[in-house]
C-alpha cells in the first residue's frame, strides 16, 4: 500500500518534468507555449462557470429538500444489489451526458462528503475511468454527418456500466 501511494504521488511531477524537458530539447519556447495553453484553459474554465452554477444550485435544492432520501428509498433495491451509493449512480448517469456537469457534480460531492470519503473516492474513480459517452458519440458522428450509429451506443453503455461496477469493486477493495 505504502509503495503504491508513493509511486502515484510521483507520477504528476515526473510527467510535468518530462514534458518541459522534452519541450526544451525540441526548442519549444516553453513559457510562451505554456501561456498560450493556459489561455485556452482559462477560456474553457470560464465556459465552465455557468455549468458549475447550475449544477451546484440544482443539486443543493435536491439535497436540501430531502428528495435524495426519497430517491434512495425508490432506488433502494438497485443500491442494495450493486452496493452503489445514490450519488455515485447519479454521477455516472450525468457523466455520459455532459463533462462539465459531471465535473461540477464531483466537486460538489467533495464539498459535501470530503474527497477522502468513500463517496469522494468513488466519484474520483468514476470520473477518471469513464467519458461523456453520449456527448462524444453525438459530436463525433454529427461532425461527419453520420445518422445511423449502428452499435456504437450499446457498446458505450456497456463500457460505462463496466467501469461503474469496476470502480465500486476496486474502491471498496483498496480503501474500505
Amino acid at each position: 500500500m505504502a509503495e503504491q501511494i508513493s509511486i502515484s504521488s510521483w507520477i504528476i511531477p515526473v510527467v510535468m518534468a518530462a514534458v518541459f524537458l522534452h519541450g526544451l530539447i525540441n526548442n519549444v519556447r516553453v513559457f510562451e507555449v505554456f501561456t498560450q495553453g493556459a489561455q485556452e484553459g482559462l477560456q474553457l474554465a470560464v465556459k465552465l462557470v455557468p455549468y458549475l452554477l447550475g449544477i451546484y444550485v440544482a443539486v443543493s435544492i435536491f439535497r436540501e429538500s430531502g428528495a435524495v432520501d426519497l430517491m434512495v428509498k425508490v432506488l433502494n433495491p438497485v443500491i442494495r444489489l450493486l452496493e452503489i451509493p445514490a450519488d455515485a449512480l447519479f454521477l455516472s448517469i450525468v457523466r455520459t451526458l455532459s463533462g462539465p456537469a459531471a465535473l461540477s457534480m464531483m466537486v460538489e460531492i467533495f464539498d459535501t462528503y470530503g474527497p477522502d470519503s468513500y463517496i469522494g473516492r468513488l466519484a474520483s474513480t468514476l470520473m477518471g475511468s469513464t467519458d461523456t459517452t453520449f456527448y462524444i458519440i453525438a459530436i463525433y458522428f454529427g461532425s461527419v454527418g453520420i445518422k445511423k450509429t449502428r452499435y456504437a451506443v450499446p457498446v458505450g453503455i456497456m463500457a460505462d456500466f463496466a467501469s461503474l461496477l469496476a470502480s465500486v469493486y476496486i474502491v471498496k477493495r483498496l480503501f474500505e
Partner: protein, 196 residues
C-alpha cells in the same frame, strides 16, 4: 441533460413542499451559487495550468512520439484501415492525448480522425466498423494520468490526492476491455444481421 436539470430543481422543490422544508430552499440555493463561483475560481487555476502543460507536450511533439509508441498496440483493432492511411495517425494522436489526461487537446484529433475515416466510408450516413471501434475505445476512456481529478481533489483538501490513481487505472482497464470485446461481438452480430 435538460431533463436531469429540470428533474433536480422541480423534484427538489416538490420534495421540499412535501417535507415542509420550503423555507430552507432559498438560502440553500443562494449559498450553493456562492460556492459554485468560489469553486470556479480554483478550477480556473487547475484547468489553465494543466492545459498549459498539454500545449507544451503538443508543441514539442511528445504526444506524437507517444502515439508512435502505442501504434502497434492499437493497429490490430482496426483491420479495415489501410496501412499508412492518415486516419490511423489521427486516431493514435487522439488516444495518446486522452491517456495523458489532455482531454481538450484530444477532441480536435478525434474530429480529424472521424473526417478521415469518413473518406473510407461507402455509405456516408452510416457508421463504419472502424468508427464504432474508435468510439468504443474513446468513450471507455483510456486515462493514465487523470490530472484534472487529482488537482480537484487537492483543491478540495484531500490528504492524498493521487491515492485514487491505481483504482482509476483498474476501472479504466476493465471498461476498455469490455468495450473492445463488446465492439468485436457486436461487429460479428451486425455483419450477420445486415447480410440478410
Amino acid at each position: 441533460m435538460n431533463w436531469i436539470f429540470a428533474f433536480l430543481i422541480l423534484g427538489g422543490i416538490l420534495a421540499a413542499a412535501w417535507n415542509g422544508k420550503l423555507d430552507s430552499i432559498t438560502p440553500a440555493a443562494l449559498e450553493a451559487a456562492k460556492t459554485a463561483i468560489e469553486r470556479a475560481i480554483s478550477l480556473m487555476g487547475v484547468v489553465g495550468f494543466w492545459l498549459g502543460i498539454a500545449k507544451v507536450a503538443e508543441e514539442s511533439g511528445l504526444i506524437d512520439s507517444i502515439s508512435r509508441f502505442i501504434a502497434p498496440l492499437f493497429r490490430w483493432l482496426f483491420p479495415s484501415i489501410p496501412k499508412g492511411h492518415p486516419a490511423m495517425g489521427s486516431i493514435l494522436m487522439n488516444l495518446s492525448a486522452n491517456m495523458l489526461g489532455f482531454g481538450n487537446a484530444a477532441t480536435p484529433f478525434g474530429l480529424k480522425a472521424m473526417k478521415e475515416l469518413q473518406t473510407l466510408n461507402p455509405n456516408p450516413d452510416t457508421a463504419t466498423e472502424a468508427m464504432c471501434t474508435f468510439l468504443a475505445i474513446n468513450t471507455s476512456s483510456v486515462t493514465l494520468i487523470p490530472a484534472t481529478i487529482i488537482a480537484l481533489r487537492a483543491a478540495a483538501g484531500s490528504k492524498n490526492p493521487s491515492e485514487v490513481l491505481g483504482a482509476i487505472l483498474f476501472a479504466t482497464t476493465c471498461s476498455t476491455m469490455v468495450a473492445v470485446v463488446a465492439d468485436y461481438a457486436f461487429r460479428l452480430l451486425y455483419r450477420k444481421i445486415e447480410r440478410r
